[in-house]
Structure formats: C-alpha cells, structure tokens
C-alpha cells in the first residue's frame, strides 16, 4: 500500500497505509470516491480490489494467532507493487 497521508477525503484507512498485503480478487470498477467527494464525476472508474493483510503486519503488538487476517476493499490508485516483487 502507498504510504500517503493527504489532507482530503481518503477511502483507504490510516492503519493499512504503507503496509504489505496480498490481492485476493476484483470487487468492482467504480467511480473514484476521492473525486466524487468534491462534486466531480470520479471518471474514469477505477478497479476496487479485495486485499488481505496479516493482523501481525498491521499491529506490532497483536497477540492473536498468526492466521488472523483482515480483508479491506482498496481502490487501485492506493496500491503499489512490493519492491522485492512479492
């Protein structure tokens, strides 16, 4: 995930920015909500992906089992490939 922290309306929660996740599947292609929030069309529409994160990746002090995960819907402009190609 991109580690971006702009002042405006964001549809990506703070707690996953800059974190590593894995794409599960495509949810839909939708107008960009970060454009629509300011009265613009949000077109062209952007893909929305379901991305899975390990809870241990998100929360350093997480005490649950290693298999615990969270799935978040992500608009594609927030994604970036991992540097190690993983």
């Amino acid at each position: 995930m991109k580690a971006l922290f702009p002042p405006g309306h964001c549809r990506t929660p703070f707690y996953i920015r800059g974190k590593r996740g894995r794409i599960l599947d495509l949810v839909d292609v939708e107008p960009d909500p970060e454009e629509r929030a300011y009265g613009r069309s949000g077109l062209p529409a952007v893909p929305v992906w379901r991305v899975v994160f390990d809870q241990h990746e998100l929360w350093p002090d997480y005490r649950g089992p290693d298999r615990d995960r969270v799935v978040v819907g992500i608009f594609e402009p927030w994604l970036e490939p991992l540097e190690d190609g993983g």
Partner: protein
Amino acid sequence: MRRHHDMGGLPAGPVERSEHEHAPWEKKVDAILRLLVAKKIMTLDELRRGIEELGPGAYDELSYFERWIRSIANILLEKGVVTVRELALAIEAAEARRAAAEACPKTVAAP
C-alpha cells in the same frame, strides 16, 4: 498524518451490540439523504467528506445522524441548493413549531 475520524484500530470502549429504535427525526435525516442521492443532488462521498470536515470537536460531540444533517446542510450550502438565509429562516420556523407544540401538548384519552 492520521485524520481525526480515521480511528480504526485505536483503543475504544465496548461495542454496543443491542438494536435500538431510531427517533423520527433520525429517520427523516436518512430519508432526506436518500432523496438527495436519488435525485443526484449530492453523493455519499460528499456526505462522508462533509462529516470528516466537521473537525474533531463536532465529530465527537454530535450523534451519528446529527453529523449527517450537519454535513448535508454544509454540502447543500456549498452547492447553492440552499442559502444561509433560507436555512436560518427554516430553523427559526422549526423552533417556533416545536415551542408551540410544547406549549400545547396533544390531549391524551383518559384511561
């Protein structure tokens, strides 16, 4: 920087899981929003942006539907759908109706 409303994962109290009744005014706020969205006057994304822009004080002090109607009012002002003056007069008229209703409560049938 994290914005105030973006509080996922922060420490918080217990989750209230019981169902609760909505007050008539809350249902009205929901209906107003649905109409505005259906008529393409505003979007849910604008509603969310307006709620986020209320700022930390109002965000914490207002209830869920109070945040909605504050955001709706601000977005409609921005878009020129209503003017500050129209809103002021409508609020004044609503307060007068409420005062009148409280001064003259509905009669209830004797048991």
